[in-house]
Amino acid sequence: MSTVTIEEQVWKALAGVLDPEIPAVSVVDMGMIEKVEVRGATARVVVLPTFTGCPAVPVIREDVAAAVSRIEGIEEVEVQFSFNPPWTSDRITDEGRTKLRDFGLAPPTGAGPVLITSIALPVKASCPFCGSTDTHNENPFGPTPCRALYYCNACRNPFEQFKPV
């Protein structure tokens, strides 16, 4: 017998909440959901912001609350932002990485948790358009706090890289 628990329904709803700045990936793909708890008719969702100063946080709060409150049996949604543990770029799922690439954003490099002393931009990022690594960094900063700017020497496209952090 398989029944879908209410927690599973919450996770499913969260998988439909898109990152407002990168609408190709959900907050689940980004590894931003630390915890889901349902007690009675109250759901509590703990979200880890990707960057402290991310201006998308208030939008994410609203979107998470709206998506979860649509679940039958949920009357109250508590959305809590936390830095414990700090969000790190290795939390992005494999599916999330594929979606980022398809969106034109090079996913962050490195598999395991990034050590503070080794946080750095890769010298050669992998171009999300042609796959070449004949690229160079143009700017450690970009249009949002989480992105850096690169240029692909092979296909001559500028592209963005999600910063390893």
Binding site: T52, N84, W87, T88, V114, N139, P145, L149, K163
Partner: protein, 278 residues
């Protein structure tokens, strides 16, 4: 909770807010489009970090973080004078950026083990982000130090001005002794200052920059209690326009003329349109 914790968070948040505001003034004006983007992004990070500190502060005092940021009188800000100085020329901006982010890294490193759990978690997260500021600042300092003589000379000028002022980041804030006793700040400002001077001096040596840019920095200067009970650097004048100082004063609300202009600009909308939302 604790007055010393409030005092610590105010100093930390104000440094980030005020320097973030100065960095944002390069938006549209930086000498290079990539730097326009970089300084805008760094400004956004710093102001976001200020919001993080003010968020914790708000839970202690009951104040709205926006009000903490924009609703205080000029003399209630506790940022170091270094952070409020007008941007001036690019070389000064780079020198300040490098010195500040070097100092901030040392400060965040110790705050990661603050007895205030939420502050410790915030510091851990912020330090990872600040890493990119350091990478950016280091790259620029290196580029200019190894470049043509005019840029190098200007950088030395910027460093000469900013180095002394950077020492003001380590002026003890009000009730610092209590904050150390409680474990909110695990390492005293005087020790952080020593680490900062050591680290920055080692980098200057490595880059072949003259350590004379530190002239005027009295490494042994103590911020002592005056007869009025205020903490002042021994023999120090209030910060004036263009004068060289040890950069003290900010932690007790004594600011330069540059601050007044910044405050006026930064808080104008908040003051003229109370309750406005956007």
């Amino acid at each position: 909770m604790s007055d010393s914790l409030i005092s610590l968070l105010t100093a930390l948040g104000d440094d980030e807010l005020i320097l973030g505001h100065r960095h944002s003034e390069w938006t549209g004006f930086a000498p290079h489009i990539e730097e326009d983007v970089a300084f805008s992004s760094i400004a956004q990070d710093e102001i976001g970090h200020a919001a993080g500190y003010f968020g914790i502060l708000g839970t202690l005092t009951g104040d709205d973080p926006d009000h903490i940021a924009l609703g205080r009188a000029p003399e209630d800000y506790r940022n170091a004078v270094l952070c409020e100085r007008a941007n001036g020329e690019w070389a000064y901006t780079l020198a300040r950026h490098w010195l500040y982010d070097t100092a901030d890294d040392l400060r965040l490193e110790v705050l990661e083990s603050s007895a205030h759990e939420e502050l410790a978690q915030l510091a851990t997260k912020m330090r990872r982000e600040e890493r990119y500021h350091l990478i950016h600042a280091d790259a620029w300092i290196k580029r200019v130090a190894h470049g043509p003589v005019e840029g190098r000379t200007r950088l030395e000028g910027g460093l000469s001005r900013a180095f002394g002022e950077a020492i003001g980041l380590f002026e003890p804030f009000e009730r610092e002794d209590d904050a150390i006793k409680e474990g909110w700040l695990p390492t005293a400002s005087s020790e952080l200052r020593r680490r900062f001077i050591d680290r920055a001096s080692a980098s200057l040596d490595e880059l072949g920059l003259p350590t004379e840019v530190r002239a005027g920095v009295d490494e042994a200067a103590e911020f002592v209690a005056s007869s009025s009970g205020d903490l002042i650097a021994s023999g120090e004048e209030p910060p004036g326009q263009g004068t060289r100082s040890t950069g003290g004063g900010g932690r007790r609300g004594v600011h330069s003329d540059d601050f007044r202009q910044l405050w006026d600009d930064m808080t104008r909308t908040y003051r003229e349109h109370p309750g406005a939302t956007w």
